[in-house]
């Protein structure tokens, strides 16, 4: 019994259950009107009732998220390599990248609607803009964190630069790349929704705006739950992929016993 309560899977679910109970009790006791905070059962009701619609609307959001995320990795990782390997590229690009990050994405999102219309493209671009910076920063660090002794050792082995890259530098950077991908994918979800806020007629972001306009708070909460679940599933997928591909990394070691 004790073990069942302590299993890693159950703990977050248990916490959610407690939050829902506290939520329900406080709504009842404090007499919070449903147009401010809907009681949990109303949200659940909407979730079931509007479930098919929400799932259908989640598809464009998911596509935009994955598109932005894929671009983040495909552009971010090679860019990080260039920055890590060339001082010149670093001095030109890095300050501009940091500058680009201080531009609020929400403020420039309407611009993409003007340029690229109401289709999926502007959402992908906003998702990319949010997702790619952590990939670049973390990957640069991953490539630069090669031990000096390891570099010397490999130099004494006389292999080509390319061999050194894919046999030593790249595997060494993989943990950093994966941890950045986990951050990136959750930010890409945010980016996709921001993109949908500024101009669209589909997606969870659109549902959120519509529900907000109709004061349909239960639907809004239900949409938020769907959105969060999407982020969690994407995060866990990358996490599982990392555990499968990098079983050697510190964070993934199942058996930490040493032999002597």
């Amino acid at each position: 019994m004790r073990n069942a309560f302590n299993s890693a899977w159950l703990r977050p679910i248990l916490l959610v259950a407690i939050v829902i109970v506290v939520w329900d009790i406080s709504v009842r006791l404090l007499n919070v009107p449903a147009y401010l905070v809907p009681p949990p059962w109303q949200v659940l009701e909407q979730l079931v009732l509007e479930g098919p619609m929400l799932l259908a609307e989640a598809v464009p959001t998911l596509v935009a998220t994955l598109g932005g995320f894929a671009l983040s990795v495909l552009i971010g990782v090679p860019l990080a390599m260039l920055i890590a390997y060339s001082r010149t590229v670093e001095s030109y690009l890095y300050p501009l990248l940091v500058f680009s990050q201080s531009v609020p994405k929400v403020a420039i999102a309407p611009l993409f609607v003007v340029w690229f219309g109401f289709g999926i493209l502007p959402k992908i671009i906003v998702a990319f803009l949010l997702g790619f910076f952590p990939v670049v920063v973390s990957t640069v660090m991953g490539f630069k964190s090669l031990e000096a002794d390891m570099v010397d050792l490999v130099r004494s082995m006389g292999g080509s630069r390319w061999k050194m890259f894919y046999k030593v530098s790249l595997p060494n950077a993989m943990p950093a790349i994966f941890s950045s991908m986990k951050v990136s994918v959750t930010l890409a979800v945010v980016g996709a929704v921001v993109g949908e806020f500024v101009g669209s007629n589909a997606g969870i972001g659109y549902v959120l705006q519509r529900a907000n306009g109709n004061f349909d708070l239960p639907l809004m909460f239900a949409a938020l739950i769907v959105l969060s679940l999407m982020g969690v599933i994407l995060f866990m997928t990358i996490d599982a992929l990392e555990k499968y591909l990098l079983p050697w990394h510190v964070s993934n070691r199942l058996d930490s016993t040493q032999v002597h």
Binding site: E147, D149, M150, D152, L153, V154, R155, S156, M157, G158, G159, K163, M164, K167, V168, P171, N172, M174, L246, W248, H249, V250, R253, D255, S256, T257, Q258, V259, H260
Partner: protein, 278 residues
């Protein structure tokens, strides 16, 4: 005033056949200065040194005396500021590939198991993989790592990691082994065990070894010759031929000869400063 090298006329113990003295590594007037914010820092004063083929030479010296720098220069991993280094008669420019390097940390790749870490050497050099695998297996057995081929570095103790790193340094059968405080991170017991093993490996392979260490007993125990370096900027303060019969057991450390060697060498570190007769 100090007992200084007489290696040219020092009689070899009869326990081993006399070796032909061919200088394999020649260091001639090598200096190293690092550029710094407050002007250049002198790390090595002109160093002259020659190591014969098959000789085991240790360099001891206080921290920061530039002994690791000397090893880097011999490996061609850093350019000398002056003078020249020759290995096998050829002046070195750039990283040397006919050497095996062992650092204080095992520097094993976390994503490769023991066997594949050793084989990295072969992969980087484009060696014949079937032959390399066979040799790796032999080395693994020699180093007492049998049964741990598929283990990852973090599953091994420090001593085993360092053994794997020594195997890697031997895989391509280099002429020279360069070891930079290879046992510095190990506990005293493991260290003694590793010293015996290194001696055994050396007796079997007869590599030319340049060992950097800050342990005087380790240097005396393992070496044919011990080079004592002065404080920064480093220069050679003295050279001692160690005439103790091979193979040496740990018991040799209890002999008066051993004690007199360590005492003489240790005296340098307490007499630093007054040591300008060299």
């Amino acid at each position: 005033m100090l007992a200084v090298s007489m290696k040219k006329d020092a009689a070899r113990p009869t326990a081993q056949p006399p070796k032909i003295h061919v200088p394999l590594i020649e260091v001639r007037g090598v200096t190293k200065t690092y550029p710094g914010r407050d002007g250049p820092t002198e790390s090595l004063r002109p160093i002259d040194l020659s190591i014969n083929e098959g000789e085991f030479v240790s360099v001891v010296g206080p921290s920061g005396c530039g002994k690791s720098t000397l090893l880097k220069l011999v490996a061609g991993l850093a350019p000398a500021s002056g003078g020249e280094i020759r290995i096998g008669g050829r002046r070195i420019v750039g990283p040397q590939t006919n050497v095996g390097i062992v650092f204080q940390n095992a520097v094993l790749m976390a994503w490769r198991n023991v066997s594949n870490n050793i084989l990295l050497q072969a992969e980087m050099r484009g060696m014949d993989m079937a032959a390399a695998r066979k040799r790796a297996q032999q080395l693994i057995e020699m180093a007492g790592l049998k049964g741990f081929e598929k283990k990852y570095p973090w599953q091994l103790s420090g001593g085993m990691q360092q053994r794997a790193s020594i195997c890697r340094a031997l895989l391509h059968d280099p002429a020279v082994m360069l070891m930079d405080e290879p046992f510095g991170a190990l506990d005293a017991m493991t260290r003694e065990k590793m010293n015996i093993e290194l001696q055994r490996i050396w007796l079997e392979s007869r590599k030319t070894v340049l060992l950097i260490t800050h342990s005087i007993p380790e240097a005396v125990f393992l070496s044919d010759r011990v080079i004592v370096m002065s404080e920064r900027p480093g220069s050679i303060a003295a050279t001692y031929d160690i005439d103790l019969p091979r193979s040496r057991s740990l018991n040799v450390m209890a002999t008066p000869e051993f004690a007199s060697y360590t005492r003489m060498i240790r005296a340098h570190f307490y007499a630093q400063g007054s040591l300008d007769d060299h």
